[in-house]
Amino acid sequence: MDLFALTAHQIMELIASGATSPVEVAAAVRARISAVNDRTNAFIRTYQESPVGASPMPIPIGIKDNICVKGRLVTCASRILKDFCPPYDAAVIEKIRAVGGVILGSLNMDEFAFGSSSETSAYGIVRNPWDLERVPGGSSGGSAAAVAAGEAVWALGSDTGGSIRQPASFCGVVGLKPTYGRVSRYGLIAFGSSLDQIGPITKDVTDCARLLNIIAGFDRRDSTSVDLPVPDYALSLRRDVKGLRIGIPKEYFIAGIQPEVQAAVMAAVAFFRKEGAIIKDISLPHTEYAVATYYIAATAEASSNLARFDGVEFGLRAVPEKSRKAGIVDMYEETRARGFGDEAKRRIMLGTYVLSAGYYDAYYLRALKARTLIKNDLDKAFVDCDIILSPTAPTTAFRIGEKASDPLAMYLSDIFTIPANLAGVPALSLPCGFDSAGLPIGLQLMAAPFAEEKIFSTAFAYEQAHGWHTKRARLDL
């Protein structure tokens, strides 16, 4: 058995029995990175950290390149941050370190998490381990690809509009966007502050629950984190779904959805019905506004969050060869022109536009109102449902370059994942089969705020009955 292919809980059992050691595990995973990373390009850079003595969870972990690790380069896969070394650890990194986690390195992503394909990175595109001609999804494409390829036992990603779940779906792994406020954002380089959450990307639901237990909890440094006790999520890994009320939103089964995706998801619905769950057809009537709402709210916040990358204090500083304007303005313009990629520029411009005098009411304010309506839809649905079930994405992984020149088509790939961010509710993607090309299909489970336990028990029941999670990408062939 290859150590790199195991889950964290399997590895912990082997360590407990003396069959292996944290050092061996780290070495096996590093060897795997050396063997396959030039094919996936999942890691941007790696570190040689050694496991610390007897620690509770000495599991090698990959970190998305937008989460600050003290003294390490953190770049958001952007040229503008190419030399940035934060002098502090993100809250989640402190927690990982506290249990002895071994940080493998920084994982590739769409620049500043702007994208759904991991094609906008300044460090090159990430490839899907199941088919190297296809994208791994995005923006946490490096995280999902690394876990799927055995380059990391588990990984952290961030999710603003589906950036954990959609790549998890494309790469056949498990990814959770926790409830907004469940995990501290301190040290996560912000994209859309009111939407961002850090979450686990793992090989199975058990690992997902365990990793969430490590990173969740109130943090006074993040005013948006919520001071609620963190349950032991491992206790929710039961297979009992009898009486569970599962809502199937009709707006999520639309024209344009890949038939094999729809079939796999409907098969999952049939499974839950058979197991005694109560299946309800529900409506989330404002779903059609979710993508537009999201791209206004998220880009508005992003345009402001990215203003600090101006060449003054940190990151890239560039000045034009020929002075055009006042020195400082020259420097701002040249730095940002050279430092940001096209998608980042597109979103900064869009966000700046929707906040501008004369447009604010028509765009930003209306988006806030629509966001409330979308949240109300979900709040209402969760009165009668424990879980809302849907596909994670309308399709399986698309080809590299297929949507790169069509931003709108790209944005629509997040159509099912965005509402959870707008409403702040938890949502998980887990594998639910493969299409005819052998590409993984993802099943999304949403629940009410702080009802992660319901998601885990539902996902665990499905996973244990199907075993999709035991399939591994055959990169070696």
Partner: protein, 477 residues
């Protein structure tokens, strides 16, 4: 045509809280550049603000002291603009829900009471400081000031002259000093003031086009700048021109206003809700608690002291001009000493000692009981006025007991007739011709003898008793 000047003032107040508004850095002045900073106030990527509750308390105090309504919905917004002293590229401020709104300030101007409306007061963070270094021909940034808590207090355009503006500022400063929320030191920059100035024909309701004056470094500079600007606008209108809305910088040396470059004025700040700080609601109880902490405010105190002690407006204004000074007076008055004498000693000799030492009354060793004792010793004839002033000069620094000093230095006036008799008899013998003059009706000639006797007694004689004594001896011997 007669013009009337219309002025509204914007005052920025740096709060004296122990730490900065959104991080735990000390809120301190005068430290070496960039030593009082942390990742949060430096705006490093991934950091988040957390509101300092003492800033909120100061904001509420200022609002309540200015008779404002407190907004129970506490919300912050981002004000977006690029400037090298602003590390995040936005300032966290309050836009549509300032902590306080719709209040007023009462004060005395031109011998009359005046009430000026307060539009709003809001909380925000200060920016850093730019320092041009000629040695390296570069502009350097000191971020120590970044994140210093500010309250901006905006008045209604109800001030009608430069003098009124000056008096309003003085009264506002005094109120803020009573609250102990700020140093209120314009030279140190802990209080800054911008003025909006327009003119209109007397009797006209509509406001004229205003200009905004910046860069005044003292209250008198504010006054001079407003006078200058009002005249400039009047000349402009008389000569057939019209006022252009713009921002002008006051040049103190040349006593002129200079327009800012137009580019620096064309700002669209793209305000939107700060997603990193969750809005919250203040309870009425919390507001009541802060209200309960307010001291008696200067204008109210002035009115009370005039009524209670029967003193003049003029004297009361001096007494309340410093909260500690008025406290000192009231503590001394409690001893039952004659209040009119006490006021004279406070506002005369004691004030002189304070000015010489450039200190506040609380910096002295002198206690209210000591001053009361001194005044009592003057009034009961134990010591002369002159001697009392010497004693005061001594005990302000030494804090010695008044009676002890009188004894130690032998300053008690000699009223003993035997002792006086001997000396007076000697004097009379030495100046027989003066004695004759007095006997022949030239009563003022006695002054000479009093002076001679006083000289021989080294000033320790009670002049009143001495005079009577001499008159008696001359007439009856």
């Amino acid at each position: 045509m007669d013009f009337e000047t219309v002025i509204g003032l914007e005052v920025h107040l740096q709060l004296n809280t122990a730490t900065k508004i959104f991080c735990a850095c000390r809120n301190d002045f005068g430290l070496p550049a960039n030593t009082c900073v942390c990742p949060v106030c430096l705006g490093l990527p991934g950091t988040l603000p957390v509101l300092n509750r003492m800033v909120l308390r100061s904001g509420m105090k200022v609002g309540l002291a200015l008779n404002c309504t407190i907004n129970t919905f506490v919300k912050f917004d981002r004000k977006n603009y690029y400037y090298p002293d602003l590390p995040k590229g936005y300032q966290i401020s309050q836009f549509d829900f300032p902590i306080a709104k719709k209040g007023f300030l009462d004060f005395i101007t031109g011998g009359q009471e005046k009430r000026i409306g307060i539009t709003r007061a809001h909380m925000e963070e200060d920016a850093g400081k730019l320092i041009h270094d000629d040695a390296v021909n570069a502009t350097l940034v000191d971020y120590n000031r970044t994140g210093t808590p500010l309250i901006e207090i905006v008045s209604e355009p109800e001030l009608r002259s430069a003098q009124e503006a000056y008096d309003y500022l003085s009264a506002l400063k005094l109120t803020l000093q009573y609250l102990n929320v700020s140093d209120c030191d314009m030279e140190k920059g802990s209080l800054r003031c911008d003025a909006n100035v327009s003119i209109r024909p007397k009797g006209e309701e509509k406001l004229g086009t205003r200009t905004e004056l910046k860069n005044m470094n003292s209250f008198s500079a504010v006054k001079r700048a407003i006078e200058h600007e009002a005249e400039r606008q009047a000349r402009l209108v008389f000569s057939g021109g019209s006022v252009v809305q713009q921002t002008l910088l006051w040049n103190e040396e040349k006593s002129v206003t200079v327009p800012m470059r137009s580019k620096e004025q064309a700002h669209d700040y793209r305000y939107f809700p700060e997603p990193d700080l969750v809005p919250f609601t203040l309870t009425e109880a919390a507001i009541a608690a802060v209200r309960g902490e307010l001291p008696e405010l200067p204008f109210v105190r002035l009115r009370r002291m005039v009524a209670q002690y029967g003193i003049m407006d003029y004297d009361a204004i001096i007494l309340v001009s410093d909260r500690a000074f008025a406290d000192f007076f009231e503590a001394a008055a409690l001893t039952g000493v004659d209040v009119k004498s006490l006021v004279n000693w406070m506002n005369g000799p004691l004030m002189k000692e304070l000015k010489e030492r450039r200190c506040r009354v609380t910096d002295l060793k002198l206690k209210p009981l000591d001053l009361a004792a001194l005044v009592r010793r003057v009034n009961d004839g134990t010591i002369s006025n002159l001697a009392a002033k010497d004693i005061l000069a001594d005990i302000v620094d030494s804090g010695k007991d008044v009676d002890l000093v009188i004894r130690e230095q032998g300053l008690a006036q000699v009223s003993d007739e035997d002792e006086l008799g001997k000396i007076v008899d000697d004097i009379l013998k030495e100046h027989p011709q003066v004695v004759e003059q007095i006997r022949s009706g030239k009563a003022n000639a006695a002054g000479f003898l009093v002076g001679q006797a006083m000289k021989r007694m080294q000033g320790k004689a009670n002049p009143k008793i001495l005079n009577e004594f001499i008159q008696r001896r001359v007439m009856h011997v």
